[in-house]
């Protein structure tokens, strides 16, 4: 499988749509254990990214990801801004100036993004952050793609895994980010960043259908 610039534009559009639709939901999740801005921030960031995409009209997948990354970095703020900004910047670096991205490139790029998040935030699986979704999902993708499967073939499994790991943050006590200040009171709530990460992977998968 090869993914061209259109695919990545579609991915961003779908991700932005999910963030807009779930702005209040994400904000409510963040209000319970954080400061209630995650949905507002991500929606503002996604809109800034779409604006930047349409005004600068980047041509390659790498340029698209860089444009989105820069837009998120300078508009989201909070913890999610640098984290999501890094995700897209790292993916852009991994894509280089290729016109089309294959499954292997994609897996490598996502792995780089995961390393970026972990380097920045120092969170491990189980800390009740977006890493709880990212690490298992990226590992699953990497393994399957190394074994010759393609993203369209494993899409349903990816989305299901992301959803499962997102929900699995509920019983955890947060050890990183703002929710950690709540101590045991953070138990019983779903992590907002894990939830937006679920939409990330879901959008990546749905973008394929629009080919």
């Amino acid at each position: 499988m090869m993914y061209d610039a259109n695919y990545f534009r579609r991915f961003i559009e779908i991700f932005a749509k999910y963030l807009e639709e779930n702005k209040e939901y994400l904000t409510r999740l963040d209000a319970a254990i954080g400061d209630g801005d995650h949905g507002i921030n991500m929606d503002r960031g996604a809109k800034a990214a779409l604006d930047r995409l349409s005004s600068t009209n980047p041509k390659t997948p790498g340029e698209i990801m860089r444009t989105v990354g820069m837009a998120l970095l300078s508009s989201v703020g909070g913890a999610a801004g640098p984290l999501y900004g890094t995700i897209f910047m790292r993916m852009s670096l991994a894509f280089g100036n290729r016109d089309k991205i294959d499954d292997k490139n994609l897996a490598t790029a996502l792995e780089q993004a995961l390393l970026g998040i972990k380097g920045l935030g120092k969170a491990e699986v189980g800390d009740k952050t977006m890493v709880d979704v990212w690490e298992p999902v990226v590992n699953f993708l990497k393994e399957n793609i190394e074994n010759g499967r393609t993203l369209p073939e494993i899409c349903e499994e990816v989305v299901a895994l992301a959803e499962e790991r997102m929900k699995a943050t509920i019983p955890l006590q947060a050890r990183k980010g703002r929710a950690s200040y709540l101590g045991e009171r953070s138990i019983g709530h779903q992590d907002p960043g894990a939830t937006s990460s679920y939409y990330f992977f879901r959008s990546l998968c749905e973008a394929i259908g629009g080919r």
């Binding site: 904000t27 209000a31 954080g34 400061d35 209630g36 801005d37 507002i40 921030n41 503002r44 970095l73 300078s74 508009s75 989201v76 703020g77 909070g78 913890a79 999610a80 801004g81 640098p82 984290l83 920045l120 935030g121 947060a174 050890r175 990183k176 980010g177 703002r178 950690s180 200040y181 709540l182 101590g183 009171r185």
Partner: protein, 333 residues
């Protein structure tokens, strides 16, 4: 939600315009990216102090820009850390060549965004150092969390660091003394009511008429514990117990006090809090060298208060007393 605002998405921009209109002698405002900076920046030979954080904590940080305190403040959206481009652009304007000290409140988002800005500035040859303020004793198990939050101690850090920079101290020395403040300051906060982020339109949590939150931060988040409402003296006793058990003060020690309102608390109540705080410190023989009572670091319209205690030595006393002239803090000038 009822607020004296126009559109929720415009609050930060319009606030900055209102600040620029009120204090043209002290500050200038840069838009996109947003930051407030000293009207006379860059000040030759002086280390530049930059801080910032989410908006909604006014007068922190913008109200502390001026002579003897900050060179620039970078306001994010309400309760949301600013983005790296803000500190980066501010740094380019206010660095006179003597270097930049970033004063960062310890929140994952703030730390990451300031770190990124520091990288960008260093890449362009600026000398950049940071001090992270983490004074909130409400965060008990700091090993199993993102560490303590930065709250009221930030005001003292900015004041004292600003005085050191104004005296022409080099970057390492300014950093040292701000780190000394960070090491010797402790805070704790409580809330009687939540607050409403304009863009969210709803309070971040709900509290019954007979409940209060103990151990809150400054972002309208719930605290460590929800407790039954008590008389002020009992609440203050709990707050001071939390601070003093973390900060063994000895008889004869001198402290600076900040009895801070969260934005919606009448000054009357803050003085009632200060009465008990003072009684407790007097009771253990700790000398109150200087006391600030008022709204210094807030959470929008939240009703509540925080207490900050800074242990002083001669160096800190001198710097605390040094002249300062900003929109929100002014003395000896």
């Amino acid at each position: 939600m009822k607020k004296l605002i126009n559109k929720p998405e415009d609050v930060v921009k319009e606030m900055l315009e209102g600040m620029a209109a009120a204090h043209p002698d002290l500050i200038k405002v840069h838009f996109e990216p947003n930051f407030i900076y000293r009207a006379d920046a860059p000040v030759k030979g002086k280390v530049a102090l930059i801080s910032g954080g989410g908006s909604g904590h006014e007068p922190l940080h913008g109200g502390y820009v001026g002579k003897g305190m900050l060179d620039a403040a970078c306001p994010g959206n309400v309760f949301t850390s600013p983005t790296p481009d803000q500190m980066y652009e501010a740094g380019k304007i206010v660095d006179s060549g003597a270097g930049i000290l970033l004063i960062v409140k310890n929140y994952t988002g703030d730390v990451m965004n300031f770190d990124m800005a520091a990288e960008l500035l260093k890449a362009e040859g600026h000398n950049v150092e940071s001090v992270v303020i983490a004074d909130d004793v409400a965060v008990e198990q700091s090993l199993y969390s993102a560490g303590r939050r930065g709250v009221g101690g930030t005001v003292f850090a900015e004041k004292i660091g600003g005085a050191a920079a104004e005296k022409g101290w080099p970057l390492e020395e300014v950093k040292r003394v701000v780190q000394k403040v960070a090491d010797n300051v402790r805070s704790i906060g409580i809330a009687l009511t939540p607050c409403t982020v304009p863009a969210a339109g709803k309070p971040t949590f709900e509290l019954k008429e007979d409940e209060f939150e103990f151990g809150i931060g400054i972002h309208g988040e719930p605290g460590r514990r929800r407790l039954k409402m008590k008389p002020a003296d009992e609440i203050v006793q709990m707050m001071m117990d939390a601070i003093l058990s973390d900060m063994p003060l000895e008889k004869g020690d001198e402290v600076a006090l900040l009895v801070n309102g969260m934005g919606g608390t009448p000054l009357m109540e803050l003085y009632i809090v200060n009465r008990k705080v003072s009684q407790i410190l007097d009771g253990i023989g700790v000398k109150r060298y200087r006391t600030l009572v008022g709204n210094y670091i807030t959470s929008l319209e939240m009703q509540g208060a925080s207490v900050t205690v800074l242990k002083l030595d001669d160096e800190l006393k001198e710097l605390l007393d040094a002249p300062v002239h900003t929109p929100a803090l002014r003395w000896r000038t």
